[in-house]
């Protein structure tokens, strides 16, 4: 793995954004060959804080993506199992995910693959753990009774199939989960640990998230920052390249 440690939340976010930008540009997507970006799922559609609203306001309305190319799991679908199966098929039809970007929960989950999820699981319905519900309460006026208890999620296996995985982890409350994810063994109680067996994983974090790691680990990877920073140097834009 690569472990990229930045000073704070803003710098970590910026590094991650530049990395994604560079990956897309060097991929040189065309109308025949899309760059497929994977993102974790969220809350049911009907709610004002739904993931659709979240994705629209924070991503889609700022870019000119063709709506037909935005696939979001619909928690309000009639047949949830079919919805999940179609999603897996859509990923395959798109040629697989080139880069999956996600975070981890305080309990070490990736997407909503709660502790105990199979490390080879696929897209399915999951009942959320208490930790996750508490973490999501901020979207529901801090009223736990209003937070949905079920969600559709991509599986650990689904994410492992991606060609590259980037996990962004910030804040001291995630520090223990990060420790479990990279310094302890592969364990279905900390599903992010599955990525120890993925050929291309990057963990991007801020200083606070490293608080539970060994000094040796942190020093080693900080020493590699000059290499990491080359990954975010500006590359030619696609426009320049095509001329």
């Amino acid at each position: 793995m690569r472990l990229v440690i930045l000073e704070d939340y803003d710098l970590a976010s910026e590094w991650a954004a530049k990395y994604i930008r560079n990956r897309i540009i060097t991929f040189r997507p065309t109308a025949q060959r899309y760059f497929t970006l994977g993102l974790p799922t969220g809350l049911p559609r009907a709610h004002p804080e739904s993931y659709h609203s979240y994705m629209w306001n924070n991503f889609f309305k700022h870019v000119d993506i063709d709506p037909a190319n935005a696939h979001i799991l619909d928690g309000n679908a009639q047949d949830l199992e079919a919805e999940c199966a179609v999603f897996e098929k859509d990923i395959a039809d798109a040629g697989g995910i080139d880069l999956f970007v996600g975070g981890i929960g305080p309990d070490g989950h990736i997407a909503f693959n709660e502790p105990g999820s199979s490390l080879v699981s696929r897209t399915r319905v999951k009942t959320l753990a208490k930790d996750t519900i508490v973490a999501n309460a901020r979207f529901f006026g801090h009223d736990l009774s209003k937070v949905p208890t079920m969600a559709l999620t991509v599986g650990v296996g689904t994410v492992m199939d991606s060609r590259e995985v980037m996990i962004v982890i910030t804040g001291a409350h995630k520090a223990f989960a990060l420790y479990k994810a990279i310094e302890d063994g592969v364990n279905h109680m900390w599903t992010v640990s599955a990525f120890q067996q993925h050929p291309r994983t990057i963990f991007v974090c801020d200083e606070d998230a490293t608080l539970e790691l060994r000094v040796k680990t942190v020093k080693y990877f900080k020493g590699l920052m000059h290499v990491h920073n080359k990954l975010v140097d500006p590359v030619l834009t696609m426009k320049n390249d095509l001329s």
């Binding site: 659709h52 309305k61 000119d64 709506p67």
Partner: protein, 412 residues
């Protein structure tokens, strides 16, 4: 993004690079329009998988709802109360001109006149208010919402520039019959200004309100109790606050006291018209009213036919007026006969004099009049589903363009 991906026959326009007035603030958001209405882009994206057919770059300007003027007596030489052979042509002419001031909807106002004038003009106006394209407005001019009848059931002492010989009282019969007689009908009437202290006003106010006509108090010597009673019967507006009414007195605030009255029925609000031209109201008085009841302030021009004309003598209603600079007097007196300020001038002056925010100033000319008339689900706001009547302006609120139903109808 290719522009031929529209999922419906109606083209979708996306206003980009603008700050829109929404939720009482200026937000850095795009505005989407389809079929003359404001579109929810999130629903378009997820439900229809649609996107814009064309994008209009607003250059960082402010995009706000078009202004609504509920008190406009005429302009550019046209006096709505002095009907020519074709009163309709006059309304149409003014409606087109006021697009330059950012007004996208208005209520043509008739001052106190003889019944013959009302009958003739109202009959012709119904042509406008009944026809959809004139009601919503378009390239041909601002939309005509309905007529504002200011008089003749007003107080003699507070007639202002209205002709004394045509003032009326309600008579003893009660109900709106005297009004039907004088006006010739109440179709297409949005608002009636009357003096509530006149005997028999209560049943009139009640019945007008039930018919959906906005009742406004003005040109009156009513005390606060009389005014409050009228509000309880259904009155919801005050015509040009401070002008043509008793001045505020600390033991009887009169109509002005409605701004802070605690006898307004629950769930209802009293709105008040303000002529913010710097002449009809001293800025300090404007501030007192605004601070007492900011949500009720409705900017009106009360503009007369001389608006847009050069200085000199002109005819208004059945009287003659004289223009000197930005002042318009009843000829030979110092009585103001009406203003000649344009709506956008009023918005700017209001903002400067009151020190309020730009969103507040803009809402006083759009959202509040729409709320007053009960049309805020359709006009005066940029919420999804509302008519796309818009004004584009810079940070000093100087207008750059006006749109009706999403179509550009005027550009600087």
């Amino acid at each position: 993004m290719p522009s031929n991906g529209s999922v419906s026959d109606a083209p979708i326009t996306q206003f980009i690079n603008c700050r829109i007035l929404k939720e009482h603030t200026l937000q850095r958001e795009d505005l989407w329009v389809r079929d003359g209405r404001i579109l929810d882009p999130e629903k378009l994206f997820f439900d229809e998988q649609g996107y814009a057919d064309r994008q209009l770059d607003c250059g960082g300007a402010i995009l706000a709802p078009g202004f609504i003027d509920v008190q406009l007596n005429g302009g550019y030489g046209v006096d709505f109360s002095t009907p020519s052979e074709d009163p309709g042509a006059g309304v149409a002419f003014v409606a087109k001109k006021i697009l330059e001031h950012g007004v996208t909807s208005f209520c043509p106002t008739l001052v106190t006149s003889p019944p013959s004038v009302y009958h003739k003009v109202l009959q012709r106006f119904s042509f406008f208010t009944a026809r959809c394209e004139f009601q919503s407005g378009g390239v041909h001019g601002a939309g005509v919402l309905g007529v504002h009848l200011e008089g003749p059931f007003i107080s003699l002492e507070k007639k202002g520039a209205h002709p004394e010989q045509f003032l009326r009282t309600f008579g003893g019969s009660g109900g709106v019959n005297p009004l039907l007689e004088v006006y010739g009908g109440l179709d297409n009437v949005s608002m009636v200004t009357l003096a509530p202290e006149l005997a028999g006003s209560q049943s009139v106010v009640e019945e007008l309100s039930q018919r959906g006509v906005t009742v406004s108090l003005g040109h009156s010597v009513a005390n606060l109790s009389q005014a409050e009673e009228a509000v309880q019967q259904g009155a919801s507006f005050i015509t040009h606050l401070f002008n043509a009414m008793l001045p505020f007195h600390h033991r009887d605030p009169g109509i002005v006291g409605l701004l802070t009255s605690n006898r307004i029925p629950a769930g209802r609000s009293v709105f008040y018209g303000m002529i913010a031209d710097g002449i009809h109201t001293n800025p300090a008085a404007l501030r007192i009213a605004h601070r007492a009841h900011p949500a009720g302030l409705v900017l009106v021009t009360d503009a007369i036919m001389a608006m847009g004309l050069p200085p000199g003598r002109h005819t208004l209603g059945q009287q003659v007026i004289e223009i000197q600079g930005l002042h318009a007097y009843v000829a030979g007196t110092t009585t103001l006969s009406g203003s000649i300020a344009t709506m956008d001038m009023c918005v700017r002056h209001f903002q400067q004099a009151s020190g309020c925010s730009v969103p507040e100033a803009l809402e006083a000319a759009s959202l509040h009049p729409a709320q007053l008339l009960g049309i805020s689900h359709q006009k005066g706001s940029l919420e999804y589903g509302c008519d796309a009547d818009l004004v584009l302006m810079d940070d000093q609120m100087v207008l750059e363009a006006t749109y009706i139903s999403g179509v550009e109808v005027w550009r600087k």
